[in-house]
């Protein structure tokens, strides 16, 4: 099945052929306590305390919360507000490494996932601090706990990696194929589903082949090559492409009996349970024409952007933009002191000349955005409504269904900043709704 709309950007997967390399140990790490969607944990260490790799630095505060762990052994130097990729400084733990990189004694294997109870697996996943590694950073144990009234019959595993440039999932599928498959099996056990489908875009047939070969015979995984089209990795579109179920507007995958997990997350889950390894590192694609040596790196969580770029030979003099994630939906960075987080799938460095300025000329009604929108919205109209501050009409235009994928802006000849418009439009529409509610 193919979804309607979408675009074919230049993929520029510069690093697809480069194996994952471990980054050498550094002297200093900066671990923000909030790296996921949900409440940040409560800090459980003190200044000056010695910690080991994998030792929890926070304790979950509530259900939708996960701990963060020490990326290496060393001493807690400072607990204070530090630069954070989201923009505003956030409470972070500065760690001075001792160079020994010793593992925490309690970070021991949990057991065999094939025999452990689903609840125990779920706890282990939470304690390991695992979140959606595709970039969504929603705590995985929460996603694996669907409410009683939402029966799940299918686990969809996202190996699409539809963002240009990024290759971290591609490399994980190639190099950790067994862990990915085992992880899928583990998640199936937690969810109690008998069916799982793995979707990979057809520009990575080697990844799918690797998974197929590595798949243990007792796991009933279905592997599917999907059309290479952005945003194939969007949850709703991936589900549609794999099993033709349409997540209702405003709904979640569980409304159609599906849970979606990323391939890297699956591997992380099995590593946590089988090896007792909490999330202390992740694969990051460092790429773009403005970085000297593009690479796929295994980076400790809390490594600063500066350190990563230095390790990759530095950047060119005409560096224009640094982005966490891909060029379509990634988040722009303005401080190289910011650390790598659990959700950092890539670090993209674009030259000044490659950066598109969206200046917002008038819409010429070319219809490109209408053809491109995978949600089948009419972005041209929504854009005009935002420009004219006609907030109350935005609901009827379905602005809340926009997934901010950027396909519309990508093809707009007038270079209208459509995504920015729709982010604003959503806020304003919600405000309108609140006003209406309070009157009612």
């Amino acid at each position: 099945m193919k979804f309607k709309g979408g675009i074919h950007p230049s993929y520029l997967k510069l690093t697809a052929g480069l194996p994952i390399e471990a980054m050498p140990l550094l002297e200093r790490y900066l671990v923000p306590i909030g790296q996921h969607i949900g409440a940040p944990g409560d800090v459980v260490v003190e200044k000056g305390q010695a910690v080991k790799r994998g030792e929890p630095l926070t304790r979950p505060a509530g259900f939708v919360s996960v701990p963060v762990h020490a990326p290496t052994s060393g001493t807690v130097k400072k607990i204070a507000d530090f630069p954070h990729p989201l923009g505003r400084p956030q409470l972070s733990i500065e760690l001075e490494a001792d160079g020994l990189d010793a593992w925490w004694e309690s970070a021991a294997p949990v057991g065999d996932w094939r025999t452990l109870a689903p609840a125990a697996l779920r706890d282990a996943i939470r304690d390991a601090g695992i979140v959606g590694l595709g970039g969504a950073t929603f705590p995985t144990h929460v996603k694996l706990s669907p409410p009683e009234d939402k029966p799940i019959d299918l686990l969809v595993v996202n190996g699409a990696e539809c963002e240009p440039y990024l290759t971290s999932d591609h490399r994980i599928m190639l190099e950790q194929a067994v862990d990915v498959c085992e992880g899928v099996g583990l998640m199936m056990r937690v969810l109690g589903v008998g069916r799982a489908m793995v979707g990979v875009e057809d520009n990575k047939p080697d990844a799918l082949e690797a998974l197929r070969r590595a798949c243990p015979p007792d796991l009933p995984l279905e592997f599917r090559l999907l059309e290479t089209k952005y945003p194939q990795g969007s949850e709703k579109h991936l589900i549609y492409a794999l099993c033709k179920r349409e997540v209702p507007a405003g709904g979640l995958p569980m409304d159609v009996g599906v849970v979606v997990q990323n391939v890297g997350t699956a591997a992380a889950c099995v590593q946590a349970v089988r090896d007792g390894r909490p999330m202390t590192e992740r694969v990051v694609t460092v790429t773009g024409s403005a970085v000297m040596e593009p690479r796929n790196l295994m980076v400790r969580i809390g490594t600063t952007l500066q350190d990563v770029l230095d390790h990759c030979g530095g950047v060119t003099g005409d560096l224009g933009k640094v982005i966490y994630g891909g060029p379509m939906m990634g988040m722009v960075q303005f401080d190289l002191e910011c650390p790598v987080l659990k959700g950092t799938s890539g670090i993209l460095c674009l030259k000044e000349s490659e950066v598109t300025q969206f200046e917002g000329r008038a819409c010429i009604r070319c219809g490109n955005c209408v053809d491109a929108c995978p949600m089948l919205l009419v972005p041209s109209r929504m854009g005009v409504l935002v420009e004219r501050s006609r907030w109350e009409d935005l609901g009827e235009a379905c602005v809340t269904d926009c997934i901010e994928c950027g396909s519309c802006a990508y093809v707009c000849p007038s270079r209208r900043p459509l995504v920015q418009y729709f982010k604003r439009g959503k806020l304003e529409w919600r405000a309108v709704q609140r006003r209406q509610d309070s009157h009612a």
């Binding site: 500066q306 224009g320 060029p327 722009v332 490659e354 995978p374 802006a409 995504v419």
Partner: protein, 345 residues
């Protein structure tokens, strides 16, 4: 490839802006340039047949439109939009809608009307509800009917200078019918002449084949979608075909309808004007079909021999309405009742 290396990165002034961070590379100027390029074969055929006077009309029209655009931007205190080439395109399209021997003042009045009344007063490119070139054409047709229907009949290629004036094929037919004469009494060009352009008309009414070539280029480049030209031509063929089958001595063969008058220019270049046509695919089809039906009605039963301009302008007027009612079903929204074959609950 990569320029200077710094051991340690230290960057200030990083560009900060929202996603997406890359773009397909197209811009308005490139779109307009493509349309202009697509018009080249048609323009060349027209110039070949009508010679120097047609060239004068073309240059005056383009120059006039560009000058008006510049002046309008100055007057309104806006950044000049001459560079986006849309005014130049309007100029070419206007020239193609005028008799090739039009006096200079007629062309300039047309340019002022097209850019001033057709576009600038609405706020410039993107804001105008009607196709500016057609606004000018119809304005001139109503204000200066004599000059606007003084068609030059080409006397073979390259002899534009001493061409005589005469009626367009559609005009001749309309006249014959109003005088009660049968169509066989009218000296009509053959299909080959129509395709090549050997007949009376405006710059853009001759050379159907060359115009179509340009149209296909635009389709191939993805600048226009097939829905408008196909809907336009198909519906015209159906209606004129039925009429012709019922009364062959009163109504022309549909092929002649397609190849004569401004139809090809209209279907591929005027009706497809992005600003004034729908943005959805289904809307484009409705729009194209509407244009074809209206053209057929005006040509067969209306007071004017040619109906393409009026048809397109009328459809321009209902474009917002068409857009409203042809919005696609949003992904995940309930299907319309008529097609409710949803899986499960």
């Amino acid at each position: 490839m990569n320029t200077p290396v710094k051991d340690t990165v230290s960057v200030q002034n990083l560009i900060v802006s929202a996603s997406p961070h890359v773009h397909a590379g197209q811009d308005v100027r490139a779109v307009m340039r493509d349309v202009l390029l697509a018009l080249v074969p048609g323009v060349l055929v027209g110039l070949w047949f009508f010679g120097l006077p047609a060239l004068v009309v073309l240059l005056l029209s383009v120059g006039g439109c560009v000058a008006c655009e510049w002046a309008a931007c100055r007057l309104l205190g806006r950044r000049s939009t001459v560079g986006d080439l849309s005014a130049a395109l309007t100029g070419v399209l206007l020239a193609m809608n005028l008799p090739s021997g039009s006096p200079w003042w007629l062309v300039l009045v047309g340019a002022v009307v097209a850019i001033g009344l057709g576009k600038a007063i609405y706020g410039g490119l993107g804001m105008n509800p009607f196709n500016p070139a057609l606004v000018a054409r119809v304005f001139l047709l109503i204000s200066f009917p004599v000059q606007m229907t003084r068609w030059v009949v080409p006397r073979g290629p390259g002899t534009g200078f001493d061409a005589a004036t005469g009626a367009t094929p559609l005009g001749a037919v309309k006249e014959a019918i109003s005088l009660g004469r049968p169509l066989t009494a009218v000296d009509l060009p053959g299909a080959g002449d129509l395709l090549l352009g050997d007949m009376g008309g405006s710059l853009g009414e001759v050379g159907a084949a060359a115009l179509m070539l340009g149209g296909f280029y635009l389709l191939w480049r993805g600048i226009i979608r097939w829905q408008i030209p196909v809907g336009f031509i198909a519906s015209l063929v159906v209606v004129t075909g039925i009429a012709h089958a019922a009364a062959p001595d009163r109504y022309l063969h549909p092929l002649i309808h397609v190849l004569s008058g401004g139809l090809i220019l209209g279907a591929f270049f005027m009706a497809t004007d992005m600003v004034t046509s729908p943005v959805t695919r289904r809307g484009m089809l409705v729009f194209g079909v509407g244009c074809g039906l209206l053209t057929a009605v005006i040509r067969l039963w209306g007071g004017y021999p040619e109906g393409v301009s009026f048809a397109i302008l009328l459809m321009n007027a209902v474009t917002p309405l068409i857009d409203r009612y042809t919005r696609p079903r949003v992904f995940g929204a309930p299907r319309r009742v008529l097609f409710s074959v949803r899986r499960g609950s």
